[in-house]
Subunit: 128 residues, 2 copies
Amino acid sequence: MDAKQTHTGKESASCPMDFILRMLMGPWTTYILYNLKTHGPQRFGELKRRVAGISAKMLTERLRTLEGASLVRRDYEATIPPKVTYSLTQRGHELDDVLGKLAEIGMRWEAEDAALRAARAAELKAAE
Amino acid sequence: MDAKQTHTGKESASCPMDFILRMLMGPWTTYILYNLKTHGPQRFGELKRRVAGISAKMLTERLRTLEGASLVRRDYEATIPPKVTYSLTQRGHELDDVLGKLAEIGMRWEAEDAALRAARAAELKAAE
DNA sequence: TCCATGAGTTACGAATTGGTACCTACTGGT
DNA sequence: ACCAGTAGGTACCAATTCGTAACTCATGGA
């Protein structure tokens, strides 16, 4: 057994959600999935414009990875110029619920934190 | 606006789940949360032994991050030798459902893939 | 006396990552 | 003739990341 394994290795036998998280965790992945979900199937350039700031290289790489994981489908039309349309597969859509829940929790926490900060500020003001 | 921003920047205004995913995505994070969830509150060394392969440095860093995000509580007893016990906070437990769902999906996909491979193999054999 | 334990911290170093800039091929517009 | 757009691919480069090894402090045991 290789004692020296970077975290890239697949020592994940014990945790099935790890695989999915490794997938979702890519830097831009959530933006891409979010956009494909909310704006429907899109072409490369469209997606690139919407996921503001991403480089073509990253977008390509992420899309390839997502495609490899069967979360995204790539439809290539060999017209001139070529049209490449990306869309969520059924598997991609299976994540909708979970991602929705994560978004919900994220927003709730944000709101809670904001409320807490507001309460703190009010307390400070009252103490003066 | 800084055109040059690494992905570490907080350009995440548009995506509330991004924050959580960034949190969960740390290399060992899921193992840690999973262990804290299934084995209950644990001390540093215990956790380190269970999350096989993690270095003390990483574990510390991950735990600090999780603590900062209020997902994990750190109870320090200044005995000699010191006892530090980690446990999930309420927020940490709020992720149980989502993580559970992710694990479920992950396992389902794994099973589906395995079934698909088996079917392919059977087909190949039948074709001979 | 020396070692191990508990819970780390620090320094160093190699590998990965992700951005930038430049390249393709083809066509339509000016 | 030249530029822009489409969908990338490639080379290079700087920064970040993560692992390893060594150190801490205090005590109890062989």
